[in-house]
């Protein structure tokens, strides 16, 4: 699938500072593979068959300060891999990456103080402690002023309607309550760059709406740069001002949501009828097409 520029974004690049830049970024994973059965298990004990899978293929992006970017793709498209590289969790296999002037994988303290990543499917606060204790620990780790930090997390808790749960052990909270605590924990040090990986996953409609509204308000107030991934297109359409569509490890669309819907039929060869102009519908068709394409491609054995 060939990438196309959705327009509107490149003009602003001239006047705003770039905070995230990647050039030909790739990441290849090595996985062990064996066929079923005892004999194959025994063979695998002596002779491991591994295969290489490119999760990210030659990705080049530039993101300006203050931009909210929706990163959309099917499962396994490479969204989380890209976020992990940008946050310094993993090394890229090849290519260049720079975030706020740092190489993320070097994980320098000055860099880590300016970013935050929220992984919706993974608890990042301490499971056995009440959130308030975790926030106190984060206050120390980020060397924040204790009084200011406490005032901040109480304010954030009020906005998310979860003050009552601050002193309950994290493991005893519902998914929605836990996610609210995770959001507070990720914003406590006021990061300049925020990576949100499926922040509303598994939440009910009301909790999703609360988090969406909160993030909207937060963005207007603090203007961080955000990369947001989600399978709920309402998250993307209500928060993102730029859409990056990723398919099988490559960026195949970069532009606005509106342009994506308008030009999907011609540029991405999607079968979209003229009356179907809903974003969710177009994305759904895109995923269907991608899924068909993925079945024909196989990883490279080594």
């Amino acid at each position: 699938m060939r990438a196309f520029d959705g327009g509107g974004v490149s003009l602003r690049k001239q006047s705003m500072s770039i905070v995230i830049q990647t050039r030909d970024l790739t990441r290849v994973y090595k996985t062990y593979r064996r066929n079923e059965g005892g004999w194959n298990a025994l063979k695998g004990f002596f002779n491991r068959q591994t295969e290489l899978k490119a999760a990210l293929k030659s990705t080049s992006i530039s993101i300006e300060a203050g931009q909210i970017v929706g990163l959309v793709g099917a499962n396994g498209a490479g969204k989380t891999t890209l976020l992990k590289i940008l946050s310094g969790l993993i090394y890229p296999s090849t290519g260049e990456v720079e975030v706020l002037g740092f190489k993320p994988f070097e994980r320098k303290s000055e860099f880590l103080r300016q970013i935050s990543i929220l992984l919706g499917q993974k608890a990042q606060l301490w499971w056995d402690l009440p959130a308030a204790d975790s926030f106190n620990l984060l206050t120390s780790i980020y060397s924040l002023d204790p009084n200011q930090a406490k005032s901040d997390w109480l304010t954030l808790a009020d906005k998310l309607n979860c003050r009552e749960q601050l002193h309950v052990q994290l493991r005893r909270l519902s998914l929605g309550e836990r996610m609210k605590m995770e959001i507070i924990g990720s914003l406590l040090h006021r990061p300049k760059i925020l990576y949100l990986d499926e922040p509303t996953i598994g939440l009910d409609v009301l909790a999703q709406k609360t988090i969406r509204t909160f993030l909207n308000e937060y963005v207007q107030q603090h203007q961080p740069t955000i990369i947001l991934t989600s399978h709920y297109m309402d998250d993307i359409s209500s928060l993102a001002d730029r859409l990056l569509l990723i398919s099988q490890g490559s960026i195949c669309y970069d532009g606005t949501v509106d342009n994506f819907v308008l030009h999907a039929e011609t540029k991405l060869n999607l079968d979209v009828k003229s009356e179907e102009t809903d974003f969710e519908e177009v994305i759904h068709k895109f995923f269907e097409k991608e899924s068909r394409g993925r079945q024909t491609s196989r990883p490279q054995p080594t």
């Binding site: 989380t80 992990k84 969790l89 993993i90 880590l112 990543i117 993974k122 106190n136 120390s140 780790i141």
Partner: protein, 264 residues
């Protein structure tokens, strides 16, 4: 320093959340081990029809068995090693990797916090037992012994760090913990006082950093060895610390290169 103290406090808070686990780990488990060891030594001496073994009398073995089991629990790290292995194995390490504190530092602070909180209670038991049974104990030697143990904790933790880094390369690396703890059980002198080992094995082990985990500190406070050997132990721990530190740094760098952020 502030973040290290906060992490140490986290360990104490975590322990207080699970009171029963804490009591079992700090008192019940080493207490039962001490009873078994004391019984075995007394039975052995009675069976042999003698009051001394290797030049040391019953009361020395009573004191040794009491202190060695409690000290072994403090200087052997399995709980935090399991946690660290699991963090890497499951990908939960991500929550530390994105914060301005290193994995080594974060768990070292917690480990020290936990061990200090545990030692403060559990060492009272052999201390009271020795005083009650009039077993040999040189009280004025306790501060230097505690200092040596604290230094040894840095060494034993760094070994644990090396083992946890193996989780980058293999699944179920927990089996290494069992193997390491068995090795420490023998090399620290927790199982048998090192002066009962044949030469030259005895000399090799006594001069290795491992002996500072149990044998040297216990022998020092019970009067089996002189101060010069404890000073030598500080040097051997330093050498061990440098070597294990280099090994840990190398494994970490290699592991991070291959890390795929699993689970997240």
């Amino acid at each position: 320093m502030r973040k290290n103290l906060a992490a140490a406090k986290l360990a104490v808070l975590n322990q207080l959340e699970y009171r029963l686990n804490y009591v079992i780990d700090a008192i019940v488990q080493p207490g039962l081990s001490a009873i078994i060891e004391v019984t075995l030594w007394m039975a052995m001496l009675t069976g042999m029809g003698t009051n001394s073994l290797g030049g040391f009398g019953r009361e020395y073995y009573l004191a040794y068995a009491m202190w060695a089991t409690f000290m072994g629990r403090i200087t052997t790290n399995w709980m935090y090693e399991f946690i660290m292995l699991d963090e890497i194995d499951s990908g939960r390490i991500n929550s530390i990797l994105v914060r301005p504190i290193s994995f080594y530092e974060f768990y070292f602070s917690q480990f020290i916090g936990y061990k200090l909180a545990t030692a403060a209670f559990s060492f009272l038991i052999p201390l009271i037992a020795c005083l009650a049974f009039k077993a040999p104990l040189i009280v004025e030697r306790l501060p230097l012994m505690l200092l040596l143990l604290a230094y040894f904790l840095a060494f034993t933790y760094t070994i644990s760090f090396c083992i946890s880094c193996m989780a980058f390369f293999m699944t179920r690396a927990q089996s290494l913990t069992g193997m390491k703890n068995m090795m420490l059980w023998v090399l620290t002198g927790e199982l048998i006082p090192l002066d009962l080992y044949p030469e030259p094995i005895r000399t090799w082990i006594v001069h290795s950093p491992f002996a500072s985990g149990v044998y040297i500190p216990v022998a020092y406070i019970t009067g089996r060895i002189d101060t010069h050997l404890i000073m030598q132990s500080f040097v051997s721990i330093s050498v061990g610390l440098v070597l294990s530190g280099l090994c840990g740094a190398w494994l970490w760098r290699l592991g991070m290169r291959s890390y795929a952020g699993t689970g997240a």
